[in-house]
Every structure is written in structure tokens, then in C-alpha cells.
């Protein structure tokens, strides 16, 4: 069902975002702990990077139906 597509995308986005954010956060924390002497900026950096990645992914995902993919191009 096409109407559910959006929902699914949003679910993916959120999940992805959560994962990226979490991973970023985690990495940030790790980096911060490990390499950056418990500064918060790696955490926010990584989490922000994560978020940003998630955002980008989400956007791409949402756009994907309008873009011509390579596989389609080559057909």
C-alpha cells in the first residue's frame, strides 16, 4: 500500500536516526572518553554527525522515488 510507504520511510528514518544518533553518541562518548579527554564536543559531534547522517538518509529515502537510480538508468 502506497500510503503506508511514507510511514515506513518515517519509521526507517527515525530508527536510522536513533541508531545513528545513538551510535554517534556512543562513538562520541568513546572518542571523548578515549581520545578527547571527556570533552563533550566529540559526543555532540558524533551524535550530531549521526543525526546529520540520519537526516540525510531520511531525505534521500524520501526522495528516492523521484530520483532515477542507476539501475533504472542502465535499463
Amino acid at each position: 500500500m502506497s500510503e503506508k510507504e511514507l510511514g515506513k520511510k518515517w519509521d526507517r528514518c527515525l530508527a536510522d536516526g536513533a541508531i545513528k544518533f545513538g551510535t554517534g553518541l556512543g562513538l562520541g562518548i568513546v572518542f571523548s572518553v578515549l581520545f578527547f579527554k571527556r570533552h563533550t564536543w566529540p559526543i555532540s559531534l558524533c551524535s550530531g554527525a549521526g543525526l546529520g547522517m540520519a537526516f540525510s538518509n531520511c531525505q534521500n529515502d524520501l526522495r528516492s522515488s523521484y530520483l532515477l537510480h542507476r539501475s533504472q538508468k542502465e535499463q
Binding site: 511514507l6 531525505q59 524520501l62 526522495r63
Partner: protein, 678 residues
């Protein structure tokens, strides 16, 4: 043990006795029942005949006699016995009597050639006369000669009896005479002592008495026989006078009988006469001898009066004088006798001549008599022979006449047969002609009738056939129409089923696959292109998966509306997240009418998703899915993408519904078309 032994022995003894007694008793009983067995036992076992005679009585032989059939031999024997009884004399030799009887009976038996079986038994049982057995043959001849034959029979019987009697008497007389002669000779010549001599003389006297009585009997019997023969002769003449042909052989036979009897009688009479003559001579001789003896006796007694007749025994008593006187007397007697002898010798010739003459006369007389009788007999014989020959000739003639008549009759029958044949042929020809003509008539009429019948029948058949054809056609058309109607009905039913299945959809789930229904529709209209085309025009999805009902679509649309509102601003160019955010914001802030009636024509302002949605909602609420779908189809961008599925679904549903409605309309039309207007 001893007691047991003794009882055992007793038992053995008792058993043995029982066995023996049983055997003997059984033998006796069986001998009583089976005579042959009895005979066998008597032959083989000694003293058994005594025992069996004691127990059962003598062996019964009588049944054997009864079982022997009376053939002529036994008849002869019995007849001979009866004959003996009739004559009453026991010393008749069997052969003579049976010879006489057989001679007569053979003469009689020629009568038995008259066609009739002889009742020998009854004859034997009845009179026991030798002629009656064959005489009873007469009884079976025809009625007109029955009286004659009866009378003849009577006469024959009586004459036969008398003749037999006479013959018997004659024979008896002959016998008596011979006996007497013999006795006389004996008495005269034999030298026997006096007491026996007297007994001899007594016998002689008895014989003489017998002879006289026998001769008298013979004479009377002869007279009787002659009488009977005369009566028979008269009877025969009378029956001859009747001139009945059937009687003639009887008469002939009776005549022959008569002749035979006469012959026998005469023969016997001659025998008697010869015997008598012989006896005469002998008696003469004896008389002479007696006379001489008496004479001598007288002389002797005259000489010697004291000496009695039996001088032969007195040889010691006579004195010398007596003896001398006797011798002288004897001498004188001898001289006298010599002189007489010489005289006799001289007169011998004369005496001989005289006696010869006498004898000649007597002989002549006898000869004449004999010749006469012989002539008579021969005459009779010839006459009888003539009669016989005549009868034979007559028979032959009759036979010839019969054959001639038969020939004539045969000729006549032949002629008649020929005539009949000719007549038969003629009649047959006529009859056949008539028959032919009649048959022809009948045939023609029959043909006519049959032809008529055939024609009628053909006509009827034709009409029937035509009607049948009409009926068939009507029925066929009916059948066709019915078939059409049925098909239409079926189509309609299937379409209805399809329709129904369309309607039968739960909310939010598609109907059942319409494949089966569609198949049914296809089946029910496989010869109708239009319907077939329509049936095949059903979208595949609907067939496989089924379609959503309008209600579910409506519900779905309502769910979709929110989403479409939210992504209203997102399209191909504006599809970043920011746009998404903006679109969401717009959706949160913009309020449109829930349902708005769509205009007849859409302008560019109406292409706003919110307006479109309200229009579509309005249409949906009012059951116009088509318009709603059209309106929804106007959405662009992400909204369009979101609504895509719904749209396809709606399209499918719309398609299906359209096809189904078309089919239904068609089915209705067809159904209506098939119903015949009165």
C-alpha cells in the same frame, strides 16, 4: 465246571437236534410245495419216499394228466377205451377193436374236413361213442343244413352204434363157436381120467350154451344194425332230396360211412358163417363119433350086460369067456367093418361125386351170394366214387367259375378304375379351372384392397410425418429458445453471482477472488462474443485477488486524506525534509471543508489538493467513486504517490463494477429478449 460242562453238552445236543429237526421239516415243507424237488429227493435219498408219503400222501400225478392237451392220439386211446366199454367184452383183443374203431373213425374223420373245429373233449365226456367227436362238427355248419346235419348225425350215431354192436356180437359169436369147437375136439380126442372128463363135458355144455347165446345175440344185433343202416340210408336219401349244396359233402361222407359199415358187417357175417359151417362139420363129426361110440357101447352092453360103460378100466375084472366073447365080437365087428369098408370103397366114388355135386351146388350158391354181395359192394363203391368224383368236379368247376368270375370282376374293376380315372381327370381339370378363376378374382380383389390400404396408410404416414416434422421443429425451436433462455438465465445468474460477490466484501479486505465467478460467467456465455469479451475484460487483479468494496475504499480514503494533507507540498522538486516539515505545518494549519461538492468543471484553483480531497470526500460520501477517483487522480507529487495504491484500487473496483454492470445489463437484456411476448 462240571455243571457248566453238562449244561454245555446239553446245549450242544439240543442245538443239534433242533438243526436236524429244522432241516427235515424244511425239506418236507418244500417237497410239499415243489413236486420236482420231491421227486429228486425220493430218487436220491433212500426211504425218503416212505417218509414223504407218510407226511404228505402219495405223489400226486393227476395234475400231469390234466395239463396234457387232448390231441387226436389221446382221443383215439380214450375212444378205444370207450369202445371197449360199449361192447362190454373184455377178451376182445385191443388191436382188433381199435382196428375196427379206427377204420370207422377214419371214415368219419373225413367228415371233419367240413370247416369247423371239433369239440373232442365234450364228445369224450359226453356219449363216449367213437363217432360223436367228429359228428359234433356238423353243429357248426350253416342253419339251413343244421337240421339235416343233425338228423344225419343222429342216424349215423345210432347206426354206428348198432353196427358196432352187431360186429361185436358177431365177433363174440365167432369166438364162442371157435371155443365150442375147440372144446368139443378136446372132449372127443383127449384121454383124460373120468372126473376131468365129466368136467370137460360140463365145460363143453357151457361152451355150447355160450355159443348159442352168442349166436342169438349176434343175430339180434345184426338185425338191429341192418335196421339202423336202413334208416340211415333213408335219411341220406331224404337229405339228398333237399338239394342243399352245403349238405352234399356231409351226405357223401355219410354214404361212405354207411358203405363201410355195411362192408364190415358183411365181412363179419361171412366170418361168422364160415365159423358156423366149420362148427357144423365138427359137430357132425362129433355126432358121428358119439353115435359110433354109443353103438359100440350098445353092442358091448348087449354082449356083456353086466359090464358098464367104462369098460376100459375093467381089465382085471373080466373072465376068460367074457374076454373070448369080446374078442369074437370084436372079430365079427372087424369083419363087418371091413365089409362096410369095401362097400364104402366101392360106393366111394359115387358118394364122392354126390358130395362133390352137393358141395358144388353149395359152393355155387355161396359163390353167387358172395358175388352178389361183392357186386353190390363194388357198385356201392363205384357209386360213391362217382359221387366223390362228381363232388370234386363240382368243386373244381366252382373254383374255375370263381376264378372266371374273379377275372370278370377284375376286368370290371379295371374298367371301372379307368373310367373313374378319366372322370377324375376331367373333374380335376374343371375344378382346377374354377379354382384358378376364383383365385384370380380373389387375388385381384386382395391386391386392390391392399393397394388401397397402402395408399391410405401412406397418406396417413405422410400427414403424420409432416406433423411430426412440424412438431419436431417446434420442439427444436422451443428447445433452442429454452436453451437460449437457460443460457441467458445462467448468464444472468452468474452475473448476479459476480455482482453479489462484488458486494460481499468485508471492510478493509478485498472480496474473494472473482476468478470462479468470472469463470462461471465465461462458461455461461462461451458462445457470446460480447459477453465473452466483457468477461475477459475483467482486470486480472480483480480476478486473482478480488476488489475492494466502496465502503472500504471510502474508509481507506478517509485514512489517506490525512496523509495526503500532510504531504500536500511535497512533489518532484520540493521533496526535502524541510518541505516535508513545511507540508506538515501546512496540514496542521490549513483547514478545508470536510466535504465540498465538486463543480461541474474544474478550474486551476480546484486543483489544490485540499480542495480536491474535499471534493473527493464529498463524492465518496455520495457514493460516486468514479468522480472521486477522477478528482483524486488530479493530485500530483507525493500526494499522488501516496494515493497511488488507493487510486489503482479504486480504478480496479471501478473497472470491475463497470464490467459487471455491463454484463448484468447485457444479461438482463438477453433475458428480456428471450422471454416471449404473448
Amino acid at each position: 465246571y462240571t455243571a457248566g460242562g453238562s449244561s454245555g453238552a446239553a446245549k450242544v445236543v439240543a442245538a443239534g437236534l433242533l438243526t436236524v429237526g429244522g432241516g427235515v421239516g424244511g425239506t418236507i415243507l418244500y417237497a410239499k410245495w415243489d413236486h420236482k424237488f420231491r421227486a429228486a429227493v425220493e430218487n436220491n435219498v433212500p426211504y425218503s419216499d416212505w417218509l414223504l408219503g407218510l407226511a404228505l400222501g402219495p405223489a400226486y400225478q393227476g395234475d400231469i394228466m390234466k395239463q396234457v392237451r387232448m390231441d387226436s392220439q389221446h382221443v383215439w386211446v380214450i375212444i378205444a377205451d370207450c369202445f371197449e366199454k360199449i361192447t362190454g367184452s373184455e377178451f376182445l383183443p385191443h388191436s382188433e377193436a381199435s382196428a375196427e374203431a379206427s377204420h370207422i373213425i377214419s371214415a368219419i374223420s373225413e367228415i371233419s374236413t367240413v370247416p369247423a373245429p371239433c369239440d373232442t373233449e365234450s364228445a369224450v365226456k359226453g356219449h363216449c361213442s367213437p363217432w360223436s367227436p367228429s359228428l359234433s362238427c356238423f353243429l357248426s355248419v350253416s342253419d339251413c343244413s343244421a337240421a339235416v346235419s343233425a338228423s344225419l348225425e343222429e342216424c349215423l350215431a345210432s347206426s354206428a352204434k348198432a353196427t358196432l354192436q352187431a360186429i361185436g356180437a358177431q365177433e363174440a359169436a365167432v369166438q364162442a363157436i371157435t371155443q365150442h369147437i375147440h372144446k368139443l375136439k378136446e372132449a372127443m380126442e383127449a384121454e383124460v381120467p373120468p372126473p376131468e372128463k365129466s368136467s370137460q363135458w360140463k365145460d363143453l355144455e357151457a361152451a355150447l350154451a355160450d355159443r348159442t347165446s352168442a349166436v342169438n345175440d349176434a343175430e339180434t344185433a345184426l338185425l338191429k344194425a341192418k335196421e339202423a343202416l336202413d334208416s340211415l340210408k333213408s335219411e341220406i336219401d331224404k337229405s339228398k332230396g333237399l338239394k342243399v349244396s352245403a349238405v352234399r359233402p356231409l351226405v357223401l361222407a355219410a354214404e361212405e360211412n354207411l358203405h363201410n359199415m355195411v362192408v364190415d358187417l358183411d365181412r363179419v357175417v361171412t366170418k361168422l358163417q364160415s365159423a358156423e359151417s366149420e362148427s357144423k362139420i365138427v359137430s357132425q363129426y362129433s355126432d358121428l363119433v358119439n353115435e359110433a361110440k354109443l353103438q359100440f357101447q350098445r353092442e358091448v352092453s348087449s354082449l356083456t350086460p353086466e359090464i358098464q360103460a367104462n369098460w376100459k378100466g375093467l381089465t382085471g375084472k373080466l373072465s376068460a369067456d367074457d374076454l373070448n366073447a369080446l374078442i369074437a365080437h370084436a372079430h365079427r365087428r372087424i369083419d363087418q367093418l371091413n365089409r362096410e369098408l369095401a362097400e364104402q370103397r366101392v360106393r366111394e366114388q359115387i358118394h364122392i361125386d354126390a358130395s362133390l355135386e352137393q358141395q358144388k351146388l353149395e359152393d355155387q350158391k355161396a359163390l353167387e351170394k358172395a358175388v352178389l354181395t361183392a357186386v353190390q359192394h363194388i357198385k356201392e363203391d363205384t357209386r360213391l366214387e362217382q359221387e366223390r368224383k362228381l363232388s370234386e368236379l363240382r368243386e373244381v368247376m366252382e373254383a374255375e367259375m370263381r376264378t372266371q368270375l374273379r377275372r370278370q370282376a377284375a376286368a370290371h374293376t379295371d374298367h371301372v378304375q379307368d373310367v373313374l380315372k378319366v372322370q377324375e381327370q376331367e373333374l380335376r381339370a374343371d375344378a382346377e379351372q374354377v379354382l384358378g378363376s376364383k383365385l384370380l378374382e380373389q387375388e385381384t380383389s386382395y391386391r386392390q384392397l391392399s393397394q388401397e390400404q397402402l395408399d391410405n396408410f401412406t397418406l396417413d404416414m405422410n400427414t403424420a410425418y409432416a406433423r411430426l416434422k412440424g412438431m419436431e421443429e417446434a420442439i427444436d425451436s422451443h428447445v433452442v429458445a429454452e436453451e437460449e433462455a437457460r443460457k441467458a438465465h445462467q448468464l444472468w445468474l452468474s452475473v448476479e453471482a459476480l455482482n453479489y460477490s462484488l458486494k460481499m466484501a468485508d471492510a478493509d479486505s478485498p472480496t474473494m477472488p472473482l476468478e470462479s465467478a468470472a469463470q462461471a460467467v465465461r462458461d455461461s456465455c462461451h458462445d457470446n462474443d460480447f459477453a465473452l469479451a466483457l468477461a475477459t475484460a475483467l482486470p486480472e487483479e480483480s480476478l486473482q485477488r478480488g476488489v475492494y468494496s466502496e465502503a472500504s475504499l471510502r474508509a481507506r480514503f478517509n485514512a489517506l486524506r490525512a496523509l495526503v494533507r500532510r504531504v500536500a507540498l511535497v512533489d518532484e522538486t520540493h521533496n526535502s525534509l524541510y518541505q516535508y516539515f513545511l507540508s506538515y505545518l501546512q496540514a496542521a494549519l490549513l483547514f478545508e471543508a470536510k466535504q465540498e461538492a465538486p463543480p461541474g468543471q474544474l478550474c486551476s484553483e480546484d486543483l489544490d489538493p485540499f480542495r480536491l480531497l474535499s471534493y473527493a470526500s464529498f463524492c465518496l460520501e455520495h457514493g460516486d467513486l468514479e468522480l472521486a477517483a477522477k478528482l483524486v487522480n488530479q493530485l500530483r507529487g507525493e500526494a499522488r504517490r501516496v494515493v497511488e495504491d488507493w487510486l489503482t484500487e479504486a480504478r480496479l473496483t471501478l473497472e470491475t463494477r463497470q464490467v459487471v454492470s455491463l454484463l448484468s445489463a447485457y444479461a438482463n437484456a438477453v433475458g428480456l429478449g428471450t422471454t416471449q411476448a404473448p
